[in-house]
Symmetry: C3
Subunit: 136 residues, 3 copies
């Protein structure tokens, strides 16, 4: 691991209150522009009402996933959190704010059906994702 | 961090639709065969209906865990995802597809009761786990 | 990545059965004392009834989060796990035992509202968190 890590930040504009946005192509462009063939990619969404997941980029599934999250953690005026978005914080904490992924052959090492998604739970907003690419 | 990372892939045959399979001993064998004493171990299951977790290898608990996941995200013919396994995708996304663990003294640095599990939600199948061992 | 990683362990005494404890300041002190400006910070709680999350340090939200976890995975005498704390194991497995975070400018690279929390589900106890700081 001789070379320095490459630090980047990605900005994403979301358009709905709840939304999945596929980041895979953009992350792969960052890896390619950094010229990294092998290593790790760490992604961290810098917010408390959004998350990062890895799953399949199939529109029906995205809809099912967001509906399930709302069923498990509904909007509820009785939350003690004062800003009216307690549900969005709890959903984000359940999923997690970061992902670590392997880089092999100059791209994210993912399975055939895997994509990396930003999960918006309190949009629309501009979201920022810190990217740390570690060559190895 | 002078040495190169060691990239491996593990194949696991699952035997039931929902199942927990303890990977700890196999991962430790990979670390030992790579001769790594200190570093990080990144594991990534390359599928969208399986996950990786860390918890206790106690049969009753494994049963409770899988039953709870099914209670939270039941099989439901009304999912928009077309393949009949929407529940398995959603359960996998809730838990996550990867784990990063520390290596100390030539083994995974885990607590007394911790094991690393593959979680099958749509078996039986052959599953593949990408292993990246980073010496430090 | 020339320098060696810094391995530490943090001990935390929890005081309630369910509790969120903000570790951010203590982790930042470890990073500062190690003299690391850029890199990764890997945290692993070495127990199976506690977890690590990243979210906002707002007391009402902490209360909402713990109440939601109890609603989703209630205490239930019918669990097969023999120790009476099956609910705590399942809640911990849902959230995860580790977090990987970026270090930039000598501190954890977090968003304005993000803090790192130990989540206790079976306290009060002393909990141990393995810290691996990787300079880059």
């Amino acid at each position: 691991m001789g070379a320095d890590p490459v630090l980047r930040q990605i900005a994403v504009k979301t358009r709905r209150s709840d939304e999945l946005i596929d980041l895979t192509a953009e992350i792969n462009r960052e890896i390619q522009s950094a010229g990294i063939r092998t290593g790790l990619c760490h992604l961290s969404v810098l917010h408390t009402t959004a998350a990062l997941i890895v799953n399949e980029a199939e529109p029906g599934l995205c809809e099912d996933f967001l509906a399930t999250m709302t069923r498990l953690v509904p909007v509820d005026p009785s939350y003690a959190h004062p800003d009216g978005n307690g549900h969005a914080h709890i959903k984000a904490a359940l999923l997690g704010s970061s992902q670590t992924l392997q880089i092999r052959d100059g791209v994210l090492h993912l399975g055939t059906w895997q994509s990396v998604f930003l999960v918006e739970f309190d949009g629309p907003r501009e979201r920022h994702i810190a990217v740390c690419l570690i060559p190895a």
